[in-house]
């Protein structure tokens, strides 16, 4: 089975990830997921491509830490975090977060907390290619 926390070039499958998440417990009643994907438009500009740079080893370590904290904080049965580092175009998947708990409230709250925290503490940077050129994204809309 693939690791619960990963940085990878290739796309991920939600079905596979959910199956792996469920394998941890038969008491899981609620699974919340978040998928972030590439948009063709950002802050008033057309975007044709998005690429990423990451401090890979630290990013994976921060994502593992984030997962452990979420499990403890929300009493999750399991959680998964996958981030792609590659070049994507509109509609492509970028990030996947999943939280599984006995009841839905914990799963939904933990999922939201993980994506919010990922954005502020995991060293990954996004570069948007627009008709006006390439721009590193530094704000969090």
């Amino acid at each position: 089975m693939k690791a619960a926390v990963r940085i990878q070039q290739e796309d991920f499958s939600q079905d596979e990830e959910i199956l792996a998440l469920k394998a941890s417990s038969k008491r899981m009643g609620g699974i919340a997921t978040f998928v972030g994907c590439a948009r063709d438009f950002s802050e008033g500009r057309d975007v044709s491509q998005i690429s990423f740079d990451a401090y890979g080893s630290m990013a994976v370590s921060e994502m593992n830490q984030l997962r452990s904290e979420a499990i403890a904080k929300y009493g999750l049965l399991d959680a998964r975090i996958v981030h792609r580092i590659c070049t994507v175009t509109a509609g492509d998947n970028i990030v996947f977060i999943a939280a599984g708990a006995e009841h839905r409230a914990a799963a939904l709250e933990a999922c939201r907390w993980m994506i919010d925290e990922l954005k502020v503490r995991v060293p990954i940077w996004k570069k948007e290619v627009t008709p006006q050129g390439e721009t590193w994204v530094t704000s969090h809309p």
């Binding site: 990013a59 954005k119 502020v120 060293p123 530094t138 969090h140």
Partner: protein, 79 residues
């Protein structure tokens, strides 16, 4: 030696993704930052975060050990 790494938007402004700085006894993260900021003022305009050996460090008075890996990073934009 202190190994310094740069990523993404910072590399665009430093022109390099890594460099080495001579270690000096008693050196803090602040000393290193000041030295590099003088050398790459444009890059350090966007530096928000520092990490030492892959851990976030917010207190710049932290003393550095020889052979540390230090990173000065712009605001993250993953996810």
């Amino acid at each position: 030696m202190i190994n310094v790494l740069f990523f993404g938007p910072v590399v665009e402004r430093t022109g390099t993704n890594s460099l080495q700085v001579a270690y000096q006894s008693g050196m803090t993260l602040q000393h290193l930052r000041d030295e590099l900021a003088a050398q790459y003022p444009h890059a350090f305009e966007i530096v928000c975060f520092s990490a030492v050996n892959e851990h976030h460090v917010r207190d710049l008075s932290m003393p550095l050990l020889d052979d540390s890996e230090v990173t000065f990073m712009a605001k993250f934009s993953g996810g």
